[in-house]
Symmetry: C2
Subunit: 211 residues, 2 copies
């Protein structure tokens, strides 16, 4: 019956393997994109066997999610260490997301892979995806707060802003929009944070034939 596997590594050696896998995967992705990340290859570069690789990450996509988890988790501690500049919550969030987008532009292939996996809908991913989005949300919340806590309305809107950000990035990656267009979308999306009367009555608009 026992066969848990180190979703979270405990010993130092295990931490090492976990790290080496993520590091190797990151550089492979950055260099050649998702096609260049092959599990056999990755296991060799990380110095573990294929079976072990699969013990640490039950699927290739989980490696990508692992990268996201690790990146957002360190980004969160970095960001919460300081107070983001900006006069209003909207300004701070806008500035932060524009900077995040600028950073993503530097690693297009890596970003493409990570953006793809974060918008998966398979149930086997949802737990990790939720964790990742939660980290990002915490980051946005801290950025928005600028020290003082934010309003409940704004908190409610942050996931939407986050979604707009993700979509803007994806549209840029897919070649559908230019970086300038993406920045525009981010800026516009952040304006939601200034919206008055956010709580809208439910289901007043559902009359009419379905699509």
């Amino acid at each position: 019956m026992p066969q848990a596997g180190p979703a979270v590594p405990s010993t130092a050696a295990q931490h090492g393997r976990h790290d080496r896998i993520l590091t190797a995967a990151t550089s492979m992705l950055a260099a050649g994109g998702e096609d260049a990340l092959q599990m056999k290859d990755l296991s060799q570069r990380a110095g573990v066997s294929v079976a072990t690789l699969y013990r640490y990450f039950p699927a290739k996509d989980h490696v990508l999610l692992g990268i996201l988890l690790s990146r957002y988790s360190s980004a969160l501690t970095r960001v919460t260490a300081e107070i983001t500049p900006g006069a209003t919550a909207r300004d701070r969030v806008t500035g932060h997301l524009l900077r995040e987008f600028r950073a993503q532009q530097r690693e297009p292939r890596l970003t493409a892979a990570l953006s793809r996996v974060i918008s998966e809908t398979r149930r086997s991913y949802s737990e990790v995806i939720e964790q990742v989005e939660h980290l990002h949300l915490q980051m946005l919340e801290h950025v928005a707060s600028g020290g003082a806590p934010i309003s409940a309305e704004q908190r409610q809107l942050l996931p939407v802003v986050q979604a707009i950000f993700g979509a803007a990035t994806r549209r840029w990656l897919a070649g559908v929009s230019s970086p300038a267009q993406a920045r525009f979308e981010i800026r516009v999306g952040c304006r939601l944070l200034d919206l008055p009367d956010v709580a809208v009555a439910e289901d007043a608009l559902l009359a009419g034939p379905a699509n």
Copy 2:
């Protein structure tokens, strides 16, 4: 040199194959989700050989994109045939998207597959994806207009609204948010259409360290 392949079928028999493939794929997806759609299987149900299937659709994901294309294209003609009810552009778009979401809820597995593929970023998909999004956009534009043409500002915002809609759907599918939450996000996103002064000065907010 000759080996074009019927990206768009010309003869009746080809139309038939193209249709049978999409129909079979749709029902397989609706029944069992993406995992239940296997190319060999699909080719048999559609009554074509694997090679022919691949002549019509160069990859599995292209079958999904084909479904999207066909669905949105008939939805577009259906929607443009009438005038969507609603007092303002925002109301009409909100209502339309809420109905579209309701329709998607009825076929969760199918929707999951289609939502996933539409947010791919691989360059080989971008042309078709752009077509699909263009159809959806045309539909939104018609809905928004309600007869008279819409403002340039609103036109600029429709892609963002579209992206919010897609993200809301995905978040629901991934189990990250409830249907009510998704509807909330759609409604809030549509409020962008009422935003004043949409044209924002570029890059006033980029100071500070990158993420």
